[in-house]
Amino acid sequence: MGRAILPFVALGACLAWSAARAQERPYFVTYDQHMEEPGSVELALNHVAGHPDGGNAFAAASFEVEYGTAGWWTTEVYLTGQSTRHESTTFTGWRVENRFRPFLGDYPVNPVLYVEYEDGDGANKTLQEIVGFDGQEDQTAPVDLAREESEREVELKLILGSDVAGWNISENLIAAKNLGGEAWEFGYAVGASRPLALAASPEACRFCPENFRVGAELYGGLGEEGGLTTQRTSHYLAPVVSWEVGDAVTLRASPAFGLTEASHPFLLRLGIAYEFSGAGPWIKGRKR
C-alpha cells in the first residue's frame, strides 16, 4: 500500500514545485560551467540511435535526475538502457556524478571539477562520452555477450567554460578508469553555442529566435595511459540545437558525424528536459 501511493506522493510534490526555466546546456556530451540552480531538480530523457558497420542498429536511452545541492555543487543520477535490433532490450546500469565549482563568480574561464562512478555492463550504448579507443566496433558485439562484461568505472573531468558575447565556449578533459584493473583512458569534448537572439522580445512566444540555441560540439578519444594518441580513436563533429518550448521544458537534437574509421558513421541524439524549482525544502525535509 505504501509503495502504491509513492508515485502519487512524488507527482504531488512535483506539482507543488514550480516549473522553472532551465539554464539548459544544448550539448549532449560536453559539459559547460553552469550549475543547476540550488534546490532545483531537472528530469531529462536522452536518446541516441546508431547503426555500426557490421552490427545491428541500436537505440539507447538515459534517464537523468539532476539536483542543485548548493550553488557550487550539482549532483546527478542516471539510469541507462538499450535496445538492439534482432537482439534484446536491456537495462545497462546506473551512474552517479557530482560537479563542483570552486570559484563562484563569473570569470573569463570558469573551472568545474567532475567526479563520476558508473556501475553497468558492456552493453551500455548511450555513448555519453568517448574515451580511449572507444569505437563502433564496441557496439557490434552481441548484447548477451557484452552484458557479461562488468563496467565499474570512475571518471574525472576538468570542465572549463566561458561566456563571451553571447557565446558559450566549453572544453572538457576526461580521464576514465575501469576498476577491473584496466589502464586510465582519456578523451575530450569541446562545444560552442549561442542563442539565435541575444535580447528577449517583450511578447510571450514559443518559436521566437531567443528560445533557440545553436552550436556544435566535437568529442573523441585520446588513447590511454602510456599511449596518448589520436590514431585508431573515434571522433565526432555534432551540430546541436536546443529549443526552450515552455517555461520549464527544453528539447534538444544533435546529429553526430563520425570523423574517423573507428567512429560510428552517424549518430542521432534527442533529448527532453523538465526542470522544477523549489524542491530543496521538500528534499531537506525528507532527510530529517
Binding site: 526555466r21 539554464q23 550553488g71 563562484l104 563568480g105 535580447a199 523549489g278
Partner: protein, 113 residues
C-alpha cells in the same frame, strides 16, 4: 614581499574592475520595450524565488526597496552575472548580457520612490 605585491596588484585590478562595472550605464535605460521584455524574463527566471511582483518570498528578498533604489544599474547587472552564493543567489551568466540588462531595466522601472 613579492607575494604581497602580487596580491595587492590583483586586489587593485579587481577593485578597478568592480568600480568600472558599477559605472557601466544601462544601454536600455528608460526603454519601455526592454522593461516589458525584462518583466517576461523576470517572471521566467526570478519570480519563483522573489515573487511575481518582486515583493519577496521566504526564499529570497524583495527587489522593490530603498536599497535597490540606491543601487546603480551596473552593480545590479554585475550581481546578476556573478550571483551571490553565500546568500543563495545563483549566477545568471548563462543569460546573454542583453537579457540581464533587460531584467535590470524592469527592476529599475519598479523602483517608484
Amino acid at each position: 614581499v613579492r607575494a604581497a605585491v602580487a596580491a595587492l596588484a590583483i586586489g587593485v585590478v579587481a577593485a578597478g574592475a568592480a568600480a568600472s562595472a558599477r559605472e557601466r550605464a544601462n544601454p536600455y535605460a528608460g526603454n519601455i520595450t526592454a522593461a516589458a521584455a525584462g518583466r517576461k524574463l523576470f517572471l521566467r527566471h526570478c519570480a519563483s524565488c522573489h515573487g511575481e511582483g518582486a515583493e519577496g518570498t521566504r526564499r529570497a528578498p524583495a527587489l522593490v526597496s530603498a536599497g535597490m533604489r540606491r543601487s546603480r544599474a551596473g552593480e545590479l547587472e554585475r550581481f546578476l552575472r556573478n550571483g551571490g552564493m553565500s546568500r543563495g543567489m545563483p549566477s545568471w551568466s548563462a543569460l546573454p548580457e542583453q537579457r540581464r540588462w533587460q531584467i535590470v531595466t524592469y527592476l529599475e522601472s519598479l523602483q517608484v520612490p
